[in-house]
Symmetry: C2
Subunit: 145 residues, 2 copies
DNA sequence: TTCCTTATTGAAAAAGTTTATCAATAAGCA
DNA sequence: TGCTTATTGATAAACTTTTTCAATAAGGAA
């Protein structure tokens, strides 16, 4: 419900397409590509242009309401960003994306790298990849590695 | 010189296009997109198909001889990966990419996240963004922020 | 509520990126 | 030097993203 306040406060309108797209993102635990979002909207009977999906995602990303997730085997995906930290762990099997906290841990690393490289660090991208608990279970059941 | 050994050992051939592409990567301190690499080759008078650039980069990446770098404002870029760690810090001004060491630091974080999320972590993507020393200088000279 | 302004959308097209196919070429071993 | 086959280049297709602009609708003002 909060994204509406944010957008209104900044002078953006709460349009029907934007609402629908946010609903999809809110219902997803996987990072979705623009195409995937568009398809889900179609299935639900909402005829929203793919172009609007792109535009809306760009806007939401710039407002930090959603976060881009990079999955080497897929197209860039978009997930809702909850407040504060913006790190995700992504399942390599089912591609589920889950947030984890951990800004503190990186501070130390950042300071060290700043000392080492003389860069002034302003942002960072941290993602973990692995197998989620559910997929671990199905793997074990089947005896796969 | 070492990438040749690696490729030969694995049964890949050292072709002219591959040599030229590696030369470009070795001479770059910025992460380059396939298109940029292709253009540099053209300027140098080497008529290598863009398709081959894609194929070669895919191969080099799979062999971990080069690393993909994500820059939110650009297309994915490719940089030579030196041995061991594969993390980069990227200048938001000139887009220079520099490696930094730091696999150890993340171990702790990974263990914590594994405990928190029950994921089995298998890989990670860590990149820092900031301003490189050279760009910091020019910024200071100009009095920009 | 109704009207008005203008941000937002949709459609169509263009631009750009990546992948697939296959005959021609050349790398590297015998 | 010749042979085998991985690799390349050209072409085309598939796919993704951006641009443009008239039509629509969000939301403040009356």
């Amino acid at each position: 419900m909060d994204w509406k306040n944010t957008m209104t406060r900044l002078g953006y309108r709460i349009s029907e397409p934007r609402k629908k797209i946010m609903e999809v993102l809110e219902g997803a635990e996987v990072a979705l590509s623009p195409q995937q979002i568009h398809q889900q909207l179609e299935h639900k009977g909402f005829d929203i242009g793919l172009v609007s999906v792109y535009r809306t995602l760009d806007l939401l990303t710039s407002l930090e309401l959603v976060t881009v997730v990079y999955d080497p085997e897929r197209n860039p995906g978009y997930v809702l960003s909850s407040t504060g930290h913006h790190h995700h762990i992504i399942c390599q099997k089912c591609h589920k994306a889950m947030e984890f906290s951990g800004t503190d841990d990186i501070e130390e690393l950042i300071h060290r790298v700043e000392a080492e490289t003389s860069f002034q660090v302003r942002d960072h991208l941290l993602q973990l990849f692995g197998i989620c608990p559910e997929c671990l279970n199905t793997l074990n059941d089947r005896g796969d590695k």
